[in-house]
């Protein structure tokens, strides 16, 4: 084998190795990202988190599945826009932190599941500086929606809604 052929083969080998390492790195990063977004293995409880922005408007807007918004105290506002809707996969004893659009954070921890199939959750809201705004323990059955905290937000209110799925 002359030197030219040997050089081409070595270069090709190196290129192939580079592609292979790159692919492995990509897979690793991708796997790490998905693990961050979703815990590996089954969750102990799935909780739907819906954030709503309530304002006073000429034209009312009430998202379906939220009949509570027509009752006090939420009926002080008549226009509710759904800002986000996501599912939190909770593991017992592990706190899931979600940023809120007003700069606060919502910390949700599943404490236990009792014999009556109710899930005991601890909900903590902290402001942008990390100071506690509210902290409560709620016992909710599957399908029960509750709105534990309402914060001032953009001329109206930010409603935090949770439901055990």
């Amino acid at each position: 084998m002359d030197d030219g052929v040997r050089m081409t083969t070595r270069r090709g080998l190196l290129r192939s190795m580079g592609v292979a390492f790159g692919a492995i790195a990509l897979v690793a990063v991708s796997a790490q990202g998905s693990a961050h977004a979703r815990p590996s293995g089954p969750s102990d409880a799935d909780v739907e988190l819906v954030l709503l922005h309530g304002t006073k408007a000429d034209k009312p807007l009430l998202p379906k599945d939220f009949p509570e918004l027509t009752s006090p105290p939420w009926n002080a506002y008549n226009h509710y826009e759904v800002l986000s809707n996501k599912r939190l996969a909770l593991l017992s004893g592990k706190t899931v932190t979600e940023p809120l659009p007003d700069g606060s954070t919502l910390e949700t921890t599943m404490l236990e599941k009792d014999k009556a199939e109710k899930y005991k959750l601890e909900i903590v809201v902290k402001d942008g500086k990390g100071a506690q705004v509210s902290k409560g323990k709620y016992s909710a059955g599957k399908g029960a929606r509750f709105m534990p905290v309402t914060l001032p937000y953009k001329g109206g209110i930010l409603v935090v809604s949770l439901k055990v799925m």
Binding site: N75, A76, D127, S134, K135, T150, P152
Partner: protein, 225 residues
């Protein structure tokens, strides 16, 4: 009976009865009755009684009234209960002056427009929910405590002022740095997929609202720093 007699009979037994404030003589008389005068002051007061028939008459009248009130209350509530009520009142006054447990529960019809209240994150208070809607009603009677500042409550639509008793919303507004109370539980009705609130800590400026429904309670933050 002459007009003068009738006027004399209808006149209040004390100068202060028809006025806003009692006279200094009457204050001294009440202090004497309550045993709050020291020995010298009591001796001087008793000496005056011998030379001042009007003051002696007032003392007789005050003693009779005090005895009537005490006897009547004891007959209705029992002597021990009367003492207990007095102790409770003094205890609540003492607590109130320390600004530690001034909470107020009001129905939704009393909710006013939102007040601008600064929210203090450094301070927190604990409100523990324990029972049902009936107990909340009882709490209204228990927790109607004088506030020195206006209620900071969430805005509620005018329609809510027509709320029936069953729609009553209880507002628990912590006041003071260490306000802490045990409040009745907003338990959902049996069979409903409601939410029970077991323990709640909120900062000053936030309002805890019992919605009277399966919602349990909501922490309504009025203002942010």
């Amino acid at each position: 009976m002459s007009t003068d007699d009738r006027e004399r009979d209808e006149a209040p037994p004390f100068e202060g009865a028809g006025d806003a404030l009692p006279s200094s003589d009457e204050l001294e008389l009440f202090a004497y009755l309550d045993g709050e005068l020291d020995d010298d002051a009591a001796a001087r007061f008793e000496a005056r009684l011998g030379s001042d028939p009007e003051l002696a008459a007032k003392l007789t009248a005050a003693t009779a009234i005090a005895g009537f009130v005490r006897d009547d209350a004891a007959r209705i509530y029992g002597a021990a209960r009367v003492d207990s009520i007095a102790d409770d009142v003094m205890s609540k006054l003492a607590r109130g002056s320390a600004a530690t447990t001034r909470l107020r529960v009001v129905p939704v019809v009393e909710i006013a427009a939102p007040q601008s209240t600064r929210f203090s994150r450094a301070r927190s208070t604990s409100v523990v929910w324990l029972g049902g809607a009936l107990a909340v009603a009882a709490a209204v009677a228990l927790f109607v405590v004088t506030r020195r500042d206006p209620i900071s409550a969430p805005p509620v639509a005018a329609a809510s002022t027509t709320a029936t008793a069953s729609e009553t919303v209880a507002i628990i507004t912590p006041v003071g740095p260490t306000a802490s109370r045990t409040v009745d539980p907003p338990s959902p009705a049996a069979g409903t997929p409601g939410v029970e609130v077991e323990d709640l800590e909120v900062g000053e400026g936030a309002t805890v609202i019992y919605t009277g429904s399966a919602q349990g309670a909501v922490v309504w933050v009025n203002d942010k720093r």
